[in-house]
Amino acid sequence: MIPLSWYLIFAAALFCIGLFGVMARKNAVAILMGVELMLNAVNINLLAFWRYLYAPDFAGWTFVAIVLVAAAAETAVGLALIISVYRRRSTVVVDDLSLMKG
């Protein structure tokens, strides 16, 4: 049988890869993809903890459902912002988007 540790290590690795994507990517859409990976890692953790420690209680499931809702809202608004910015500035490279630099 699979011990809890495997899931945690797997989720941690996925989270770190996503975080790297968020920090290192230039393209705003790619940054959002990194965020998706991180949220997925969180969901794996939540479900693994639920499965191994808190099984019959549905708190874990509710958490996962709320994370899904948050992910959907974040993607929708984030991509809408990216598209809107692209229309005005014709770029989605985050470094070029600093308003302060003008």
Partner: protein, 173 residues
């Protein structure tokens, strides 16, 4: 090693490889394709956790909706389409080192935790009963508030995103 363990390792390896490709591949469209594979791997790992509901929901929401939306957005922002030039920031090795350090710290902290090697107990019958989850979702003493707040949050996201995305008076190209 049991068959289940081998299967888990294979799924995890594929998922992590896909995730690495998501953050490193040059063409943003291919990154989206790899993202779909990674999301599917996560869905399989949910099924391994005996939460079939979320395994299927993962496919419906993430692959069926979010991934398609991301692909739409990639195509709408055309200028990065062929993706010439490096896709990573110049100092990309700094986050790489940071992330590697974070990973080591996470695993280190986790391995000192007493529950790290917990084995799965048999899943109680009530835990796979979706109607119990449904009852809990509308029970005022349980999760009725998150349930309603979720709908308000989604309404806010819908209104906000439509407002932002459809600025007809904005600069049309």
């Amino acid at each position: 090693m049991t068959i289940q363990q081998v299967f888990f390792l294979a799924v995890a390896a594929i998922t992590l490889f896909a995730a690495v490709m998501v953050v490193s591949t040059r063409r943003i469209m291919h990154a989206a394709l790899w993202l779909i594979l990674a999301l599917f791997g996560v869905a399989v790992s949910f099924a391994l956790l005996e939460t079939g509901f979320f395994a299927v929901v993962q496919v419906v929401v993430y692959i069926g909706a979010i991934a398609i939306l991301i692909i739409f957005a990639v195509m709408l922002t055309r200028q990065v389409f062929l993706d010439v030039g490096p896709q990573l920031n110049r100092g990309w090795w700094i986050p790489a080192v940071l992330v590697a350090g974070l990973y080591a710290a996470l695993v280190g902290v986790l391995s000192t935790w007493s529950g790290f090697q917990t084995q799965a107990a048999a899943l109680p019958e009530a835990a796979s009963d979706l109607s119990q989850f449904g009852l809990a979702l509308v029970d005022v003493n349980a999760y009725a508030v998150p349930f309603e707040v979720a709908s308000v949050l989604l309404l806010g996201a819908l209104v906000g995103a439509i407002f932002v995305a459809s600025d007809r008076k904005g600069v049309e190209r």
